[in-house]
């Protein structure tokens, strides 16, 4: 039941986006998000065209991309209501004390488009990049922070271990829950306080198990000569290819266009 959950939402396919260096995709997503907040009117057309081309290039079915939108539906609704109701300006409709303004409607539309595009843009990154590549990209991009003693290598190692163990712990939760149910435990009824109390037989073994695993893993890592990031080589180092430089070129061009549109007030 719980084991069906796959983390991240990588969609395996062979496309130019899948092959790009994860750092390019990371930076690209960032650039796209920035551009969304630069746009006024015509900019949105540019943003839409850019996104559409990326979706086409990714070879990920559109259905998968829009899956993530469900989770932001509530946020989207709240944003729209707030913008419609509380933006002052030229009044379109007035019902009792509620006024709806032209600016409000425009703002609400703009905000929703931004949110939806933002969501699709970042899903596109996670759909075409494995969680491992993402942690590698993060480690590499945050590399300069090592100079100010930020433990970049350790953070990325922790993320990658977490990715490995979350499915295992989920399965374990399922198992302990069933084992306690076999002893008559009840996880479903009672008021809030009762329910929290009923969780103890689940949480205590789960924590103990997590600590035991952490201990075992630390020992196994030490036994395999792990001693931090120093003097470590990489099996799959990130190396830029020609296509990655080309992609950076496209991104720069896109950013320049977005800024240009903004400056021209279009």
């Amino acid at each position: 039941m719980l084991r069906d959950i796959t983390l991240g939402q990588y969609y395996p396919a062979d496309s130019i986006l899948h092959r790009l260096d994860p750092r390019v995709k990371f930076v690209g997503t960032l650039v796209y998000v920035i551009s969304l907040f630069l746009f006024h009117n015509w900019g949105y057309l540019l943003g839409t065209v850019f996104l559409a081309v990326m979706i086409k290039l990714s070879k990920v079915p559109f259905k998968f991309i829009t899956k993530g939108l469900k989770s932001i539906f509530v946020l989207l609704a709240i944003t729209m209501v707030f913008n419609i109701l509380f933006t002052p300006g030229e009044v379109l409709v007035r019902i009792w004390k509620i006024t709806i303004t032209r600016e409000g409607v425009a703002m609400a539309c703009r905000m929703s488009v931004r949110l939806i595009f933002l969501m699709i843009g970042s899903s596109l990154m996670t759909l075409t990049t494995t969680p491992n590549q993402l942690t590698d990209a993060l480690e590499s991009l945050l590399g300069p922070l090592k100079k100010i003693h930020v433990p970049v290598h350790e953070i990325s190692m922790m993320m990658s271990i977490a990715l490995r163990f979350i499915p295992i712990l989920l399965e374990e939760t399922d198992k302990i829950m069933k084992a306690q149910m076999a002893r008559g435990a009840d996880f479903e009824s009672g008021n809030i306080i009762q329910r929290v109390k009923n969780m103890v037989p689940l949480l205590v073994p789960l924590f103990i198990s997590a600590f035991r695993r952490a201990n075992d893993l630390a020992l196994a890592m030490e036994a395999r000569c792990y001693h931090g990031g120093e003097g470590r080589t990489q099996m799959k180092p990130l190396r830029y290819q020609t296509r990655d430089y080309a992609a950076y070129g496209v991104l720069v061009a896109y950013l320049v266009c977005s800024i240009g549109l903004r400056v021209c007030g279009l």
Binding site: L163, R164, L219, R224
Partner: protein, 295 residues
């Protein structure tokens, strides 16, 4: 000068790759608050020698100290008494710790808790990465060790989708990629089903026979011990028996006292002998028993 060096070399050949002299490990146990901690000896006065290329089995009931002994070979624990040498390096010398861990790799009981990578090949590459091996060389080693353990076709899989036996073979490959001379396996089959146990044992025996890797296998399963060159039996932190499997398994009564077992064939032969059937001591395989009974 020259003769001294010669002597040392000659000594290397005679003396084992792994040697323990008067090894002891104590730790403090806190029973209850406010009480004086209790000194517990996990192992006591263990002396042994293991030659290069040998297949060693270590037997002992739960809590007999065999895991503690195993961790000393890898310098994960250092003795509180006596000395452990791995390839003439003392495990207490801190500057040699990483060299020792590279020489003597270790595989643990729980297959899930020792796989670090999210992809099989990345996990196998973890050890060489830590050793600072160049990228091209890492790929070569990963391919070699996955081939040696028969897991090459799973290289791109997630470890979560593998069976227990397959996970242990990945763990073994991960150790092999560090090119150790010796591999210590701490109950690697305890959590596996019979088929997984067979897979792992086959892989380990192959490494020993084809690559000459010294193997130290800690186990509860008597059938896995039959192929060993030498067997050590631990009890209460002490080394109480050692010898060839045949020598060890001819002492059925003593093994039972030590909470251990003998392979079922051996037990049957023992029972028959007790009832006056003329059979040699320490029968280990079905063929031996059938031949002895029928000829």
């Amino acid at each position: 000068m020259k003769s001294a060096r010669m002597q040392k070399k000659a000594g290397n050949n005679v003396m084992g790759m792994i040697r323990a002299a008067g090894l002891g490990y104590e730790y403090l146990r806190y029973e209850e608050e406010g009480q004086e901690p209790e000194v517990t000896k996990a192992i006591e006065d263990v002396s042994l020698e293991i030659q290069k290329g040998q297949f060693i089995a270590v037997l002992g009931h739960n809590g007999s100290g065999k895991s503690t002994l195993a961790k000393h070979i890898n310098a994960l624990l250092v003795p509180t008494e006596g000395t452990m040498w791995v390839d003439d390096m003392k495990t207490t010398d801190e500057e040699d710790v990483w060299k020792i861990r590279q020489k003597a790799g270790m595989v643990f009981q729980n297959p899930d808790n020792q796989i670090i990578g999210n992809v099989v090949e990345e996990d196998v590459g973890f050890g060489p990465e830590n050793l600072g091996v160049p990228t091209d060389e890492i790929w070569k080693r990963v391919e070699e060790s996955l081939t040696a353990t028969g897991m090459i076709s799973y290289r791109a899989h997630s470890p979560n989708k593998l069976s227990g036996g397959q996970k242990q073979r990945v763990a073994i490959a991960g150790v092999m990629a560090m090119q150790p001379e010796c591999i210590v396996l701490d109950e690697p089959t305890a959590m596996l089903d019979p088929n997984g146990r067979k897979e792992v044992l086959r892989a380990v025996r192959k490494l020993n026979e084809e690559k000459g890797v010294t193997v130290i296998l800690i186990t509860h399963y008597m059938e896995e011990v039959v192929f060993a060159d030498r067997v050590f039996v631990m009890d209460n932190g002490k080394l109480v028996m050692q010898g060839t499997p045949r020598e060890i398994f001819s002492e059925v009564e003593k093994l039972k006292e030590l909470r251990l077992d003998v392979p079922q064939v051996t037990l049957l032969a023992y029972e028959l002998r007790k009832n006056g059937v003329d059979l040699p001591e320490g029968i280990l395989t079905i063929e031996e028993l059938v031949n002895a009974l029928c000829h």
